[in-house]
C-alpha cells in the first residue's frame, strides 16, 4: 500500500513540470550563481585585477616609477584620470578608489619625510580596499622604501655627528642600512603611511552600509513577489469569470490591464514607503537625508517592479504557471541583482550581468541616496533606467496580455 501511494505521489510530482523545475533547476541555478559570487568559479579561476584610478600631480621620476611598478602588479590595473573626474567616478561607484600622488612626492622621498600620498576610496567596497591597501604599501616599500630609509639614516647621522668625515659616514650608513629593524626605527612614525580618505560624506556612517543593503535588497525582492501575487489576481479573475464579464462591458481590454497596473503601482509605493519608514523607526535609516530623491526613487522603483510583476502575469496562462515562473525569475534576478548578496562582493563579470535586473538599478539608486549621498541630478539617470524598464515591460505586457490572457476566453 505504501509503495502504491509512493508511486502515485512521485507520478503526480513529475507530472507538474514547473514544480519539478522549481525543485531541481532553481537550486542548481542558485548554487551556480553563489559559486560564481563567492567561490571564484568559472573562467581561468584567477582573480580579476582591481581597477585603481591614479592621479600623478608630482610628475617626477619617483612618482612615475611608483605608478609604473603599480601597473606591473598582477592584482592591480591602473587608470590615469584627472583628480576631480576620478573622485566623481568613485562617488558614482564606478571605481574602488584613486591613488593621488601629490606635488612634492619626490622631495619627500629624498628627505625621508612623510609622503604626500592619498588613497581616496569607496567604503562600500571594503574587501577590495583592504586588499588594495596592502598591495599599495608593498609597492611603496619596494619603490621608495630604500631611498627613504637612507635619507633618514643620513639625516639622523648628520644630526648626531655633524663633524664626522665623509668616509666614516658612508661606512656607518652601510652598517645601519643592513640592520632593517634599526633602519625602520630611525624613520619617523607614520612616514611610510598613506592617507586614507573615504569619498563618502561624513554624515554617512559606515554601519549604515549593511542596513542600506538589507533594506533596499530585501524590499525590492519582496516587492517583486508581492506584485507577482497582486498581478496574479488577473488570472484569478480569468478563472472566476469576472474577467470575461469585464470584457462584456464597454471597457477597452487594455484598460483592464492598466487598472491592474495602477493598483500594483500604488501598492508597490505603499509597500516600499512602509518598509523605509519602518527602517527609519526601527534601525535609524536616515530617510530624510534627501526626501525628494527618496520619494522619486520609490516611485520609479515601484513603477519598474510593478510593470515587471504584470509582465510575469502576462506570460503565464494560469495561477499555477505564474507561481512557477515568478519563483524562478524573481529568485534569479534577486541573486544576480544584489538583493541576496551585495554586488561589491561579487566578481566583476557578475557585477556586469547585474545590470539586466530590476533589483540592481533599484538597489544602486538607494545606495546613491543613503551611502554615496549623490545629488538628485546624479541619481536621475538610474531613475530614468527604471522608468525605461517599466515602460518596456508595460509594452510587452500589453502584447502578451492580448495574446495569452484574452485569447483564453
Amino acid at each position: 500500500m505504501i509503495l502504491t501511494i509512493f508511486k502515485k505521489d512521485l507520478k503526480l510530482f513529475f507530472a507538474d513540470k514547473k514544480g519539478a523545475l522549481v525543485t531541481f533547476a532553481l537550486p542548481i541555478l542558485l548554487i551556480s550563481l553563489f559559486a560564481f559570487a563567492f567561490g571564484g568559479v568559472g573562467g581561468n579561476r584567477t582573480a580579476k585585477p582591481v581597477q585603481l584610478l591614479v592621479v600623478d600631480s608630482d610628475l617626477t621620476k619617483d612618482s612615475k616609477e611608483l605608478l609604473l611598478n603599480l601597473e606591473a602588479l598582477k592584482g592591480v590595473k591602473t587608470v590615469t584620470k584627472e583628480k576631480a573626474t576620478a573622485i566623481e567616478l568613485i562617488i558614482k561607484g564606478k571605481y574602488v578608489g584613486v591613488l593621488i600622488v601629490e606635488k612634492g612626492f619626490q622631495d619627500s622621498v629624498a628627505l625621508g619625510k612623510k609622503l604626500p600620498l592619498e588613497l581616496k576610496y569607496d567604503a562600500a567596497r571594503e574587501m577590495e580596499i583592504g586588499m588594495l591597501q596592502s598591495v599599495l604599501m608593498q609597492n611603496l616599500m619596494t619603490t621608495v622604501g630604500k631611498k627613504m630609509i637612507q635619507a633618514n639614516i643620513a639625516a639622523s647621522f648628520d644630526t648626531k655627528f655633524p663633524a664626522a668625515p665623509k668616509n666614516i659616514k658612508e661606512k656607518a650608513m652601510r652598517i645601519m642600512s643592513a640592520d632593517q629593524a634599526g633602519a625602520y626605527s630611525i624613520m619617523g612614525k607614520n612616514t611610510m603611511e598613506m592617507k586614507m580618505t573615504s569619498v563618502i560624506k561624513e554624515d554617512s556612517k559606515k554601519e549604515n552600509l549593511g542596513l542600506i543593503q538589507a533594506v533596499a535588497g530585501t524590499a525590492i525582492m519582496m516587492l517583486l513577489f508581492s506584485i507577482a501575487g497582486i498581478g496574479g489576481g488577473l488570472l484569478d479573475e480569468k478563472e472566476a469569470g469576472t474577467l470575461k464579464r469585464l470584457l462584456y462591458a464597454p471597457v477597452n481590454p487594455t484598460d483592464i490591464l492598466f487598472g491592474k497596473m495602477l493598483a500594483a503601482l500604488v501598492l508597490s509605493i505603499l509597500q516600499l514607503t512602509i518598509m523605509f519608514v519602518f527602517s527609519w523607526i526601527a534601525f535609524g535609516l536616515p530617510i530624510f537625508k534627501d526626501l525628494t530623491a527618496l520619494i522619486l526613487m520609490i516611485i520609479t522603483t515601484a513603477f519598474a517592479v510593478s510593470s515587471f510583476g504584470i509582465f510575469l502575469v502576462s506570460i503565464a496562462k494560469s495561477r499555477q504557471q505564474l507561481q512557477g515562473y515568478s519563483t524562478i525569475i524573481i529568485m534569479l534576478m534577486s541573486a544576480i541583482g544584489g538583493s541576496m548578496i551585495p554586488l561589491f562582493v561579487m566578481p566583476e563579470i557578475m557585477q556586469k550581468i547585474a545590470v539586466i535586473s530590476v533589483n540592481y538599478w533599484g538597489i544602486q539608486g538607494f545606495y546613491d541616496i543613503f551611502w554615496r549621498s549623490l545629488s538628485l541630478s546624479q541619481i536621475l539617470p538610474k531613475m530614468g533606467i527604471l522608468v525605461a524598464i517599466g515602460l518596456a515591460m508595460t509594452l510587452i505586457s500589453i502584447r502578451l496580455f492580448k495574446k495569452n490572457v484574452l485569447k483564453m476566453i
Binding site: 472566476a240 469569470g241 470575461k244 464579464r245 462584456y248
Partner: protein
C-alpha cells in the same frame, strides 16, 4: 433585434459553430437548446462581442458587431454561465462596480440598484458579502449585474446551473418579468422544461449546427413526433388485438404491449372503454406526450443530456 447569418467558428480542428443563421425579434424569449458542447456558449460569446467569428455576420439592434462593437456592448447584457462576482464584495458593492462600468450617473445607478434588488428579492441582504450567499442567491445577483444598464437584449447562458428548484422558479419569474418589461432574451440551456416554460421560439443546436428552429408546435410538426398511449395488458389474444387495430389503425402491438398514436385528451376514454368491453385487463398505462426531449431525440438521435 438580432440577425445572425452564416456564423462559423473553429478552435483548431474543432468546428464549434457551423453556418449558424437565425433572427430574433424584439421582445422575444429565444431559446438555444442543445446538449453540453453543442456550441451554444460559443455562439453567445460571439454575439456578445468577446469572441470573433471566423465567418458570418451578427447584427445587434441594426449594428454590425464587427464595426460597432462598443455600441453593441451598450445594447446587450450578459448573464454568464459562471457566477462572475467578487466574493469579498457585498452584493451592493458588486452591483455598484458593474454598474459604474456602464458610466451610469451615480444617483441613477443607486436608484436602479435598489429597484433591481427589489425585483430579485434580495434587498435585505444587499450588505452581505457574496461569499455568504447560497448558490441560488448568487445566481440572482449574477442576473442583476447584467441588467443594471437596462440592456435591450439579455443573453442568459445556462443561468440555472446548479441551483435548487425554488431558486430556479425565482429565476424563471425574473426572466418573465424582464420580458414583460420589453427585454429581448436569448436563453441557452440543456433543460428542455426551462425552454418549454420560458421561450417563444427555440433553436435546437447540436454539433455546432441548428437542427431545427421555430415555436414548439412548429418544431413538433417539423419533427413529425406524435403523442402516444402505451398500454400493457395481462394477456391479449389475437382476436382482441385485431379488434383494437380495427378501432385504432395506428396501433403497434408487441406481445402484451400496444402503442397507439392518438390525441390522448380526446381519445383516451374511448380506448379504455374498448378495453373494458373486450375484457382486457390493463396492467400498466403510459402517456407519451410530445415534448422537446422527444423532438430533440427524433431530430438528432441523441438524448439532450448526453
Amino acid at each position: 433585434m438580432i440577425e445572425v447569418t452564416n456564423l462559423s467558428k473553429s478552435f483548431g480542428k474543432l468546428h464549434a459553430v457551423k453556418n449558424l443563421s437565425f433572427s430574433i425579434k424584439k421582445g422575444e424569449v429565444f431559446g438555444l437548446l442543445g446538449p453540453n458542447g453543442a456550441g451554444k456558449s460559443t455562439a453567445i460569446h460571439m454575439m456578445s462581442t468577446i469572441l470573433s467569428s471566423d465567418q458570418g455576420t451578427i447584427h445587434i439592434d441594426g449594428y454590425d458587431i464587427k464595426t460597432a462593437s462598443s455600441i453593441c456592448k451598450t445594447r446587450i447584457g450578459v448573464v454568464p454561465q459562471e457566477i462572475s462576482l467578487y466574493d469579498d464584495f457585498t452584493a451592493y458593492e458588486n452591483l455598484l462596480f458593474w454598474g459604474q462600468l456602464y458610466k451610469i450617473p451615480s444617483k441613477e445607478l443607486k436608484e436602479r440598484i435598489a429597484s433591481i434588488l427589489e425585483l430579485i428579492g434580495l434587498s435585505d441582504r444587499k450588505n452581505d458579502l457574496i461569499k455568504t450567499y447560497s448558490g441560488g442567491m448568487k445566481r440572482r445577483i449574477n442576473i442583476a449585474s447584467a441588467i443594471l444598464h437596462k440592456p435591450k437584449i439579455l443573453f442568459m447562458d445556462e443561468p440555472t446551473v446548479g441551483v435548487d428548484p425554488q431558486s430556479r422558479n425565482r429565476i424563471f419569474e425574473i426572466v418573465e418579468s424582464l420580458n414583460k418589461l420589453g427585454m429581448t432574451i436569448v436563453y441557452t440551456t440543456h433543460y428542455m422544461e426551462e425552454v418549454e416554460r420560458l421561450c417563444n421560439r427555440i433553436a435546437i443546436i447540436d454539433d455546432g449546427k441548428i437542427v431545427a428552429q421555430g415555436t414548439q408546435s412548429e418544431l413538433q410538426k417539423e419533427s413529425n413526433v406524435k403523442e402516444t398511449v402505451e398500454i400493457t395488458f395481462q394477456t391479449i389474444s389475437a382476436n382482441q388485438g385485431k379488434k383494437l387495430k380495427e378501432a385504432f389503425p395506428s396501433i403497434v402491438q408487441k406481445n402484451q404491449v400496444v402503442t397507439i398514436v392518438c390525441d390522448a385528451n380526446k381519445e383516451l376514454s374511448a380506448i379504455i372503454s374498448l378495453c373494458n368491453s373486450e375484457q382486457l385487463l390493463i396492467e400498466d398505462l403510459k402517456l407519451n406526450k410530445v415534448n422537446l426531449e422527444t423532438i430533440f431525440l427524433n431530430l438528432t438521435g441523441k438524448q439532450l443530456r448526453d
